[in-house]
């Protein structure tokens, strides 16, 4: 009996010390994250750019439930979810499993381009199914902005240019600069150290290139810096991007470019804007798991660059959006920046646990929720420019209703 009690004692000691070690490690990880976000010091210490300190993300001021939730390896779980759902199902199982999925998540099977469920080899393919174009009539009135995707409207409104806030959901707000990218106010002015950051990052990931953001004539800084509508000449300077990118993108559809030419060439917009008074608007659309998960261009616009923010993959369901401050700034997302005929235009798909893969049809290089992403510095974005897409417009011309890409499982 003494041996048994001794054994039991050893078990307790081992279990308790293991629990203490794991929880202290997790807590330390999170304080590191908060410290990096606030001080701008990179944990590896190779980039000492204090400018980044302007990021002031309050990651968690919630309860323990969210604290524990935040410790989950959501990116890895999302990748595993994608891999499991990319396993091909036996043909006889497919109709039943996809019907079950459709019943659970209220997916509409009547609109599918290919109605034969057995043709979808796995759930990932079914999830990324296409629908018949006639089921989504597009309002082509040039003054109408259309919905970029199916979903539920969570929020919309006007952004106060002085505050620069988007109201996420009822009262939860976050800064547009944090959402679309600040890394030290690149949109306002770029300090030499930031240029250096750009170059350093470039050397780190030489397939990622930086461009000088503040060359966009309709960039956010001209909007955030002063009231939209009082446009000053200087932000309409011609572009002088240093780097060409995405050689694969070429002027495939010159007719498309032509249709946009008259409307979106810098000169045209310059004349038009000089006479109109503008504001900054926003809209947030949530896609439920059963919705059609492709997104389309809401207007005719030119996408000039994208900013990929590797990040967490917290769920973006309305419940989490209500209770999780800064969710959108923490989650992986790809901000597409450019302009339409009335000025600045951006569209940002935000990933979530089940849909970590954000796809762009015109940018095959973009891969999100990537395993190797772990070397990415927190709260950093990676930019790519699309100047090469169209020599005239300096970006990818996108026609209203044109499919731009979508969310894929994992």
């Amino acid at each position: 009996r003494p041996e048994n009690s001794k054994k039991r004692m050893v078990k307790w000691v081992v279990a308790t010390s293991f629990t203490l070690i794991v929880s202290s490690y997790l807590i330390n990880q999170h304080y590191q994250k908060i410290k990096v976000a606030e001080s701008g010091d990179v944990v590896e210490g190779d980039l000492q750019d204090k400018e980044k300190g302007k990021y002031r993300i309050k990651i968690f001021n919630n309860n323990w439930l969210f604290f524990c939730y935040s410790t989950l390896p959501l990116n890895a779980i999302s990748r595993l979810w994608g891999q499991v759902n990319s396993l091909n199902l036996p043909t006889w199982v497919r109709p039943w499993s996809y019907k079950l999925y459709a019943t659970l998540f209220h997916a509409n099977l009547d609109e599918m381009d290919d109605p034969d469920l057995s043709h979808y080899e796995n759930l990932s393919q079914f999830f990324y199914r296409t629908i018949r174009p006639e089921t989504r009539p597009i309002d082509f009135d040039e003054n109408v902005v259309v919905c970029p995707s199916d979903g539920k409207v969570l929020q919309f409104g006007i952004i106060d240019p002085h505050l620069g806030h988007i109201e996420q959901v009822k009262g939860l707000t976050y800064s547009v600069k944090e959402f679309l990218g600040t890394h030290g106010h690149p949109l306002l002015q770029r300090t030499p150290s930031e240029e250096k950051l750009g170059q350093d990052a470039k050397t780190d990931n030489d397939h990622r290139e930086f461009a000088r953001i503040n060359d966009i004539p309709y960039s956010l800084n001209d909007i955030i810096g002063h009231t939209p509508g009082s446009q000053s000449e200087d932000h309409l300077q011609p572009f002088d991007y240093k780097m060409e990118k995405n050689q694969a993108i070429s002027d495939q559809d010159s007719s498309k470019t032509l249709t946009l030419l008259s409307e979106l060439s810098p000169n045209y917009v310059k004349q038009k804007l000089s006479s109109t008074d503008t504001q900054l608007y926003f809209a947030v659309i949530y896609l439920a798991p059963g919705d059609y998960h492709h997104y389309h261009s809401p207007v005719n616009w030119v996408c000039k660059l994208r900013r990929h923010f590797p990040g967490e993959l917290f769920s973006v369901a309305p419940y989490f959006q209500r209770n999780f401050p800064n969710l959108f700034v923490l989650n992986e997302r790809v901000a597409l920046l450019g302009h339409w005929k009335h000025g600045f235009f951006s569209m940002t798909p935000v990933g979530a646990t089940n849909v970590g893969s954000i796809k762009l049809n015109f940018d095959k290089e973009l891969i999100t929720n990537e395993k190797t992403q772990r070397h990415c510095k927190p709260h950093t974005c990676y930019e790519a420019t699309y100047e090469n897409a169209s020599k005239v417009l300096g970006g990818v011309p996108l026609i209203k209703g044109e499919e731009m890409g979508g969310f894929m499982l994992g």
Binding site: K152, F156, F179, Q279, L280, V350
Partner: protein, 32 residues
């Protein structure tokens, strides 16, 4: 997943949606 639009438009722009609406791709979100 979520899609966020942030864009500049004339002051005459009006939204044609309400919070909580179920929307379809291609339907009007707002008009100048």
């Amino acid at each position: 997943s979520t899609v966020v639009l942030c864009f500049e438009a004339p002051r005459e722009f009006n939204f044609k949606i309400n919070v909580g609406d179920k929307v379809k791709m291609g339907q009007p979100l707002g008009k100048v």
